[in-house]
Structure formats: C-alpha cells, structure tokens
Symmetry: C2
Subunit: 250 residues, 2 copies
DNA sequence: CGGTTGATTGAGGCTGCTCAAAAGGTGTGG
DNA sequence: CCACACCTTTTGAGCAGCCTCAATCAACCG
C-alpha cells in the first residue's frame, strides 16, 4: 500500500485525518507515520487522560469513540466533546500545564501514544504538518463553538438532534459511516444528558417523543438514526463548520 | 524602546500576547512586529467580521473589547466568546472556508488587520511563532471548554459569576486591570444574557441578588466587581486554565 | 422634547429538574 | 441454571428556575 490512507481501519488514523487539511510531501508523510508506530487496545470506559495530569504525551484515537469531560465535586458532570477516530487529545505536547479535563473511552478503542518532544519537533521540522494541525484545531474550535450555541440557545429536542447530526457527520468524515445512511450512537441516555446539559430523565422523555415522530429508534444504550436529513432541519444543523478542508490545490 | 512589550498600550498587542507563550529570537520578533504595522480605530458596536464572510484576513484587537456571536434567524442569539486586547479573530488565514460566526466590538477599539498570506508565511518561516500561536489556540480552546461547562452545568448566578471572573483574569493578564482590584464590564444585561444562555430579565434579577449580597454593583451598562475572590468561590472558578504559560526556560 | 436604548418589575406558564420507585437486561458466582 | 447485583431505562408526581409577555421607568441624544 503506497497510500497510507488506504490502509486498514485505524492504522495511521492521524495521517488520514491530517491529509484532510493539507497535502504532504514524502518526508512529511514519513514523519507523521513515524510518530504513531504502535497502538494499544483499551477497554470500554477506560481512562485515557485524567484531569490534572501533567503528562504531556499526545494520544491519538485510532478506533472507537471517546469523550472529554469535566467532573464537579458535587456530582455534576459535563461532557465537553466527543472524539472520533483520528482525533487527538492530551496537552498537545505542552508539558508546563496540567490538562483541565479528563478523557475516557466510550467503546473499546485503539489508541497510539506519541512522545511530546517528538510531536513538537516534527512540527518544527515540517511546517506543513504544523499547518495541518492548526487547521485541525480550528475545526475543533468550531465544534466547541457549536456546542456553546447548542447549550446556550436550543431546546432539549433541538440539542439532541444537533448532537446526533454532528456525530453522524464526523463519523462519516472519518470513514466510519454505515452504508444505509443510518448510524448508531454508543452513548447512554445518562451520557447524552451530560453532554447536553440535561438530566437523563429528561433525555429519556424527549427521545421517546423523537421516536414517536419517527426520527430515530433506540434500545439498550444504542440510538439508531433513520433520517439524518429530517433531523438536520429540526436541529438547524449546517455541516459546513465541520469541514475546513484543504484548498483543491495546495 | 528596545523591548516592544514596554511600548504604549495597544501597539504590538500580538507580540505582547505571544510572548506569554514562547520566547522569540530577534528575527522572529521583527517578523511579528512587521505583521501588524498599522492599526485603525473603530467605533463601539462596529462589525469586525460578519458571519459567512470568506475574507481570510486576520484581525488583531489592540485596544478595547469585542465578542464573537452567532445569530439565529428567529432572533435567538448566542455570544460565543469575548476578545480582549491581543486576541485574534478571523479565519486564521484560511481562505477556503467562510467563518461561522460574527465579531463585533463592545467598546471603541483599535484593531490591526493582517494579510492572510503573510500571516501563514511568517509561521512557516518561524516555527517559534507557529508554536506560540498554537499555544494561544490551546488556551482559547480551554476557555471555550469552560463556557461549555458553564452553560451546561451551572445555575444562573454561578454562570454570571464565572463569566465575570474570567473577564477579570483575562483583562488583568493583558495589562488592563485596575489597581484597586475591582473592574468594570462594558456588557449590557442583554449581552450578558446572550453570553450565558439567559434572558436579560433573568440576568437583571440575579444581578440584583448578587448586588444585595455585596458581590458587585452595577449602573447604566457597567458592572463593577468588588471582591473578585468571593466571586471566584461562588463560581467555582479556577484561573489555571487561562494561563498555559511558557516554561521558565525556553 | 420626542425617540431610543437599556433597566426594572409583575404575572403567569412551561421546560426541565428532583426525588422515588419499578422494570428490563446483563453479567457473575454458586 | 438460578439467584443476585448492577446498570440503564422508564414512569410518576411535584416543584422551581427561568422564560414570555407586557408595561413602566430611567438615561441619553439629536
């Protein structure tokens, strides 16, 4: 396989992702490849990063899903973001400051750990890589802005719909969509609530309404979306923000 | 003035900000200086960037305050973030995609516009600059995460307190604090509501309670904070996330 | 002085929360 | 294979935080 983007699911997830944001010459491609040489499997609900950790290593998700979260002392908890294959978490090589959130897996997952110094050195050596990472961070920021809007302005049913639309799009973008257009979400209703600023009780009731109206279906921790399009208009979802893609010509 | 960080308020705001995230050799410093050679004054409530704009130019705020926002067709509106002197907005030089939010000034402000290509070229030429910008983006992301937590989990009075604490800290970090420890916020109650996912009516009532309890004071569009410390404990505010500072030794 | 923007207050209502309990599924050990 | 524990979903009842609508007031401005 000359083109790593054609390699089996998971492997070189980082290169596959960064290739969406820039084109790389061979040395740069090799450099990215060299970063993530080994991966390891972790179980469902495993801790990838715990809050306050000062470890500067960078973790790349190869397969599976994970989430960033912030826990309060009094039991409140907010899920801050979802990670799909290719996504990065950790301090981006910054050793000076502890991370202000934790990361846990949602499903069984495969991750690669990258040494912080090598991560930074590679960027210094290859401006195209630094550039691609910057664009990836811009998309990440756009996603966070969308969450702020979601939490600040939308009603429960709109929030749920918007989150599901985001996930559908991102999974599809990294090659994990299902052929039939529908897809499944491995979030419990309690986790959905933590991501949306709602209680699981309310999430349950709203999901039932959405089911009754034919938008989706769900059973034992798995939500199945039928018509993403209808859901998008309900959520006022515009996928543009997820694709800060590279110009056609580099 | 050999050290630009000692120059008059506003000028070289970008260099002053980036210096918090990395140390630069002379050529790099000159490069940053060269980027933002001219500035212009804009009035209160001026549009710096309008949603959907494909202009790739980067705008640096030198003096004054501004905010990012997203407007809905039906009149709902969410303020997504606040900009203090030194902050950057715009597409970070990405010409391919329209920005998904607007930016307006909150006060009279001085801004510098940077050409997109030069912005990107400078980063390619000076890895230390790219690195500093990356760290600045990491802090920006941390702020956005804090907003997500704020909107998702906190009650109205906690949200207000947290936002005010963030502003107090950031203004102080960029050298715009007031000697007496207190400070003023140029946000109307309506704007506060748009930032916090609350109506201005509710903001008003909660502010009155906070005033009755001695946390702050307000009058004609200006909120004055008395005891930032007390407000911090009310808000469960931890300033650590705002200072991903550079290691002592570069 | 009238117009405009922002703050304030009141009444009433809905969304989403709390507390509690029960039901359904799944995994584990005996 | 059953009993038991645990997790997640589901349902009910009651409540409250925050919203909506509306009107008034205060300050500022041309």
């Amino acid at each position: 396989m000359t083109d790593p983007r054609a390699s089996p699911a998971g492997a070189n997830a980082l290169l596959r992702k960064l290739s969406r944001y820039a084109t790389f010459d061979d040395p740069a491609q090799d450099a990215i490849d060299g970063l993530e040489r080994t991966s390891e499997w972790v179980s469902r609900r495993a801790v990838l990063i715990s809050e306050g950790e000062t470890e500067a290593a960078v973790v790349v998700l190869w397969e599976g899903l994970a989430y960033r979260h912030k826990d309060f002392r009094d039991g409140r908890r907010q899920i801050i973001g979802l990670l799909v294959p290719g996504d990065i978490c950790g301090g981006h090589g910054e050793s000076s400051s502890p991370v202000d959130y934790g990361v846990r897996t949602l499903t069984r997952a495969r991750v690669a750990r990258i040494n912080a110094d090598r991560f930074l050195q590679t960027q210094a050596d290859h401006p195209s890589i630094a550039r691609a990472l910057q664009r990836a961070m811009l998309v990440e920021q756009a996603i966070q802005r969308a969450w702020i809007v979601n939490l600040g302005q939308r009603k429960a049913h709109e929030r749920i719909a918007h989150l599901l639309c985001e996930l559908a799009q991102r999974l599809s973008d990294c090659g994990f969509s299902r052929p039939d257009g529908g897809f499944e979400v491995a979030l419990t209703q309690d986790q959905l609530g933590s991501a949306l600023g709602l209680t699981s009780v309310h999430v349950n009731r709203v999901l039932q309404r959405l089911r009754a109206e034919g938008f989706l279906d769900f059973d034992r921790g798995v939500v199945r979306i039928h018509e993403v399009i209808r859901l998008q208009s309900l959520a006022d979802f515009n996928p543009a923000y997820l694709s800060n893609s590279a110009p056609a010509i580099s």
